[in-house]
């Protein structure tokens, strides 16, 4: 059980407080409701580039990192297709420093040309390091546009191409800040060795005077139902053939999400899972295989990916995956197997409560989804799923016409 209190400032900033006095630390997690899905198709990668610029100094404080490190704090951030999330961990006695820093950059950035120049380079190097200079590194740059034709999930958070990042202008930066970085578009979670009433006072003091602005309205074209199987083959200088299959699946708030997530566990969680046992151990077709969900706020993807054993025909490997999916569509999951994946969910949730930052991030994300309190009924939602639900869900997802297959083949 993750307990919390919640209040909203008059400018619309939502604040949640999770007291945990077993630690001497505090965390401040601020989630902004903006991600790569909100980008213009001609300026992709921008939400993530912007995240880097948030560390380039704010209107009254020339350096963000330095004063935080001086009080023993650490910070980082990430951008996804849905959100941009910033977090600080610091000794609880120095909590106010985090409020000072975060409120100033919500108020306004310094908009330094130098920072923009440098971060364009840094992000270009990140693009190369993670996506271009790694074997199979560009898979998501290929798979997203194959699976999504209309929705802005069709590009990755790093962006479609390096040139979009290289062309980002200060004008773009300012417009993005004005539109998305305002109190009504953020959720702040303060956790750890803190007191709710003290957090309330600090929040009013530092964030209360930030001008309100309208919460931006999202108008993203939803992805039309896919009607035929898609397939793309790429040849690259990689040592092994690999296969990636993406299926459209329900959004994060849909009960179908839980069914689908359990299906991914049945298929590939742990060494007794179906794909592991059947495809790696018994049939010896793959050296690695994995099934997982993207868990995105708009309807997401169910992914199966695997590296194929040298000498095995790609068609045979692909067919073997489908055979496992057919089984899920036609045979009810045995009770024992369903209990097994549910037990794993239950224990994972308990282990997750050992991490303060994890709890804070989860509260922020669930608040964005609708209600932070839902974090505490998450296990329950998984436990409610029946074998019948799984059978039906598998039937609706694992259809050829709902699939996008990427064959990533070795040139050798």
């Amino acid at each position: 059980m993750v307990t919390f209190e919640r209040f909203t400032l008059s400018n619309g900033l939502k604040v949640l407080v999770h007291e945990d006095h077993t630690t001497p630390m505090a965390v401040v997690n601020i989630l902004y409701d903006v991600g790569a899905r909100d980008e213009n198709p001609g300026k992709t990668g921008f939400a993530h580039l912007f995240e880097h610029l948030m560390f380039g100094g704010s209107v009254n404080i020339p350096s963000y990192d330095e004063p935080l490190q001086r009080v023993g704090g650490e910070n980082n951030a990430f951008t996804s297709n849905d959100i941009t999330n910033y977090y600080i961990t610091l000794p609880a006695s120095n909590l106010e420093t985090a409020f000072w820093l975060e409120s100033d950059r919500m108020l306004s950035l310094a908009f330094s040309e130098k920072s923009l120049d440098v971060q364009r380079n840094v992000v270009s190097e990140e693009f190369k390091q993670r996506y271009l200079n790694q074997p199979y590194g560009d898979v998501w740059l290929k798979l997203r546009p194959l699976a999504y034709k209309e929705h802005s999930y069709r590009w990755a958070t790093i962006g479609k191409e390096l040139s979009h990042i290289e062309q980002a202008s200060m004008e773009d930066v300012k417009a993005f800040f004005t539109r998305y970085y305002n109190p009504s578009n953020a959720v702040m979670v303060v956790g750890g060795d803190v007191k709710a009433d003290e957090v309330h006072v600090l929040a009013e003091k530092w964030f209360g005077s930030i001008p309100a602005a309208e919460k931006p309205v999202r108008n993203i074209p939803q992805e039309p139902a896919q009607t035929e199987a898609r397939k793309e083959t790429i040849h690259a200088d990689v040592p092994l053939n690999a296969i990636y299959i993406a299926f459209h699946m329900p959004d994060r708030n849909d009960s179908g999400y839980y069914e689908t997530d359990l299906i991914s566990d049945i298929l590939s969680r742990g060494n007794s899972s179906r794909l592991f046992v059947s495809l790696i151990k018994n049939q010896k077709l793959f050296s690695e295989v994995n099934a997982y969900v993207t868990g995105s706020i708009d309807p997401g993807l169910f992914i199966i990916e695997g590296q194929i054993v040298d000498g095995v025909a790609v068609e045979d490997a692909e067919q073997a995956i489908w055979n496992e999916l057919e089984k899920l569509k036609t045979e009810r999951v045995p009770a024992e197997e369903l209990t097994k994946v549910k037990n794993k969910i239950e224990s994972t949730m308990v282990f997750a409560q050992m991490g303060l930052l994890d709890k804070a991030m989860n509260l922020a994300f669930f608040e964005l989804l609708g209600d932070a309190g839902d974090l505490n009924s998450e296990t329950e939602r998984y436990l409610r799923v029946s074998a019948e639900d799984i059978l039906k869900r598998a039937g609706s997802i694992f259809r050829r016409e709902n699939s996008s297959t990427l064959l990533y083949l070795s040139n050798k």
């Binding site: 330095e66 001086r70 023993g72 650490e74 420093t97 390091q129 060494n271 007794s272 308990v350 282990f351």
Partner: protein
């Protein structure tokens, strides 16, 4: 109106409370170290076996045993073992590092009595079925092929081999080494290394007497002392510096790794060197990050570290940088290393680093597992909790003058071993 240009008052970290390990001994003599903390009803049980009998003719012997430990016993198949663990929502993890082989069980306490027999079974009765061994070889060779395409992997491998040669710390395994692994050598190693005599157990989480007696019931009985195996002992002379270049004509980025043999945690200078390392490349605001990422934009990240192994320590700086700025980066690294030897670290910067390190240390004690990890650091370095008192005292009190002397004594860019994979 508040003045937003003024930073709020703050305090340096004062009290750091480490949950100390309590000793316990199983009936068969295995020492158990208990770190009791937290509210969740769960435990982590780590069985730590020293690596023994290093033999360069069988370089993968210990690694393969650890990897295949849960892949079959005389009474259960790999699937049956995995299914039992998964059914109870537990996690079984094997880790092989430079000094030890670990088998770790994570479980909710309510299922402990059900999963401990599985743990016992695999560490006492693993049989390494031929078919599982073949699967292991096939998959590992494929993994190696993919890794060899990664510049940073290749770079680390060349670097470690340069420093540590064909010992366990430096050996670069090839596909051929996997082909040579035989079931017999696994069985042989298993019987030598996975013995009570060679085992230490660390239990962390919410640990009470019931949990300890369950552990004793399953792991403390019917598993007896055996012959002592020869612990690995290595000693490493500091190698003369050299430059190693692996060209990758298509590379967009080059991986860089430079460094040298250094001292490990058991050396009195280790905490002070950690301060020096932090200034140079041990945190986001470090000199290397400030210069090479935040000023020049050459890289997504650059860092340095001081690594403590049981028989050696080493220091390194590593990054992946744009191929066109590789030599410029190398020049900046040299400049930053030399600056530490010629100029005192400004008081303001040193104070920041001290505060950062204390906060970071406090933050690294998040839960019972992290307290246990802190204990493992000292236990396996032959130290006691005084080490952390000394660490904190050193961080608080060390002067710029002492750091300058340390830099002059320990850091010599010309003597570093330098590896570049990509383009120069």
């Amino acid at each position: 109106m508040i003045d937003r240009t003024l930073a709020p008052a703050f305090r340096q970290v004062e009290n750091i409370n480490i949950i100390k390990a309590a000793p316990f001994v199983l009936d068969n003599g295995i020492p158990v170290h208990v770190i009791n903390g937290g509210q969740q009803d769960l435990v982590r049980i780590e069985l730590v076996f020293n690596n023994v009998n290093w033999n360069v003719q069988k370089p993968l012997q210990a690694f393969a045993v650890n990897s295949l430990i849960a892949e079959g016993t005389s009474s259960s198949s790999a699937f049956q073992i995995a299914e039992k663990i998964d059914y109870y929502g537990a996690f079984l993890q094997n880790d092989y590092n430079y000094d030890a082989s670990l088998v770790t069980l994570y479980t909710l306490s309510k299922h402990l009595d059900n999963v401990l027999p599985v743990l016992k079974e695999i560490v006492t009765d693993a049989v390494f079925p031929e078919e599982e061994l073949e699967t292991f070889k096939r998959n590992q060779k494929q993994k190696l092929l993919v890794n060899l395409e990664k510049n940073d992997f290749l770079c680390r491998r060349v670097f470690n081999n340069t420093l540590f040669g064909d010992t366990l710390y430096g050996y670069s395994s090839e596909a051929e080494d996997y082909n040579k692994v035989s079931r017999d050598e696994l069985v042989e190693y298993f019987h030598l290394a996975y013995q009570p005599e060679n085992c230490t157990i660390i239990v962390s989480g919410k640990v009470d007497d019931t949990i300890l007696s369950l552990i004793n019931k399953h792991l403390g009985r019917n598993w007896d002392k055996s012959l002592k195996a020869a612990h690995n002992v290595f000693s490493f002379p500091v190698k003369p510096g050299g430059f190693h270049y692996v060209e990758k004509p298509e590379a967009l980025q080059s991986a860089i790794r430079v460094g040298q043999i250094s001292v490990n945690r058991s050396h009195p200078d280790f905490p002070a060197l950690q301060v020096l390392n932090t200034v140079l490349g041990g945190y986001f605001g470090s000199r290397l990050m400030a210069n090479i990422r935040e000023e020049k934009g050459y890289t997504y990240g650059i860092g340095s570290a001081l690594v403590s192994l049981q028989h050696a320590g080493y220091f390194f700086i590593a990054s992946e940088v744009g191929a066109d700025v590789c030599s410029a980066t190398m020049a900046e690294i040299e400049k930053e290393v030399n600056l530490l030897k010629t100029e005192l670290i400004p008081e303001d910067e040193l104070q920041l680093v001290k505060n950062y390190m204390l906060g970071s240390f406090l933050g690294s004690l998040e839960n019972a597992f992290s307290h246990a990890d802190k204990y493992k650091n000292i236990l396996f370095s032959g130290l006691d909790y005084d080490y952390y008192d000394r660490y904190v005292k050193t961080v608080k009190e060390i002067s710029a003058g002492t750091l300058l002397e340390l830099a002059r004594f320990y850091l010599d860019f010309d003597a570093f071993n330098k590896v570049v994979v990509g383009k120069k």
